[in-house]
């Protein structure tokens, strides 16, 4: 500020304008976060639940929760990690509540393994290769189904979402060592399911 400049008090209108601009900026930032991360969150929840409707609902809830708490997001971790953490907690809450609601219809809308393994990119594969791949995918789904909740989460984050161990640790709130331990046990189970080939 130059010498002799008078610092005028901020008027009410100016403060409101600044607040409005800040809100608009935050809304734009959040919209871009939704646009860039929503498919990934949906994919993780879909692979965790194998239920399209549930995955959509939880994705909506995840972004609703994120929107409410967007102001408190300090950027210590990436937005993706933060969102993934919310998604994991929502999923945990859902299963916990479902276990308590024993009087409700117990069956979920999860698709079965065969249906889930139908999805393969066409690529340049022969029919035989496609069949083999489909069979492999079905067996991986079977083994993933048998994993514990935590093992499954870690496994999917690593091998479907291709996240680094440090990112998984931040998203799950576990130490990196624990993540490795869960991951190694999960891989061992999947390998055993696939026939223990090396």
């Amino acid at each position: 500020m130059a010498a002799g400049t008078v610092c005028e008090p901020m008027t009410k209108a100016t403060a409101e304008e600044i607040a409005g601009r800040e809100l608009e900026t935050a809304a734009q930032e959040f919209a871009s976060v939704v646009a860039s991360h929503r498919p990934q969150i949906f994919r993780f929840l879909l692979s965790s639940t194998r239920d399209v409707d549930l995955a959509e609902t939880l994705t909506q809830e995840c972004f609703l929760k994120a929107h409410r708490n967007w102001g408190s997001f300090r950027g210590d971790s990436s937005a993706m990690t933060w969102l993934m953490r919310i998604a994991i907690n929502l999923q945990k809450d859902y299963w916990r509540n479902r276990r308590m609601q024993f009087w409700r219809h117990t069956q979920t809308n999860s698709v079965d393994m065969d249906e889930a393994s139908e999805w393969l990119p066409s690529g340049e594969r022969s029919a035989e290769q496609q069949l083999l791949a489909r069979e492999q995918v079905g067996r991986v789904w079977e083994s993933v189904k048998g994993l514990s909740e935590r093992q499954r989460t870690v496994f999917l984050l690593r091998y479907v979402e291709e996240q680094e161990l440090s990112e998984i640790a931040r998203a799950t709130g576990l130490s990196e060592g624990t993540v490795k331990a869960h991951l190694s046990r999960a891989v061992a189970k999947v390998r055993a399911e696939l026939g223990g080939k090396r």
Binding site: P39, F42, R43, L46, S47, V52, A55, E56, A116, S117, W119, L120, P121, A133, Q136, V137, R139, V140, W141, R158, Y159, V160, E162, L165, E176, G177, T178, K180, A181, H182, L183, S184, R185, V187, A188, V190, R191, A192, L194, G196, K197, R198
Partner: protein, 159 residues
Amino acid sequence: MSFNEKFDGGRNGLEAQAELREGEVLRPIDDDLSLGAPEFAQALENFRLSVHAWSEAEYSRPRTAVKTVRQRSWRLAAGWALGCVLVAGSVSGGVYERHHRQELARIATAQQTEQQRAAREQRAREEEDLLAKVDSEVSREVPSAMEPLAQLMAEDETK
């Protein structure tokens, strides 16, 4: 880091960890996780591609929720209707019960009043009878000392 780099890069991989039996403590491994056989890596790659393809297909598919919404609104309406019926039933039951009790109390009070009135009348009648009896049996028209004089006066009047 690509998928294959991740899978091929580990040296202290999961081969040893895979042999763990139940109850053994898992120790964290230091390096990235090696997946060993290329078939296994290929299976996981296929799994990843499959999940991605499925997710993309479901994500881009237009979805309608008309039926669900209708069902929910119907259930909501039915729930509200049932709730209203229950509330109305309990309220009217309470009102009827209260009215019935008030009616019984009113009848009991009337009966009690009637009994008291009858008892009072009975007492009054008994007192009257008693006084009449006393009058007829005990009282005289003139004192006994004046009786001869009264007789004389009566005789004079007849003459």
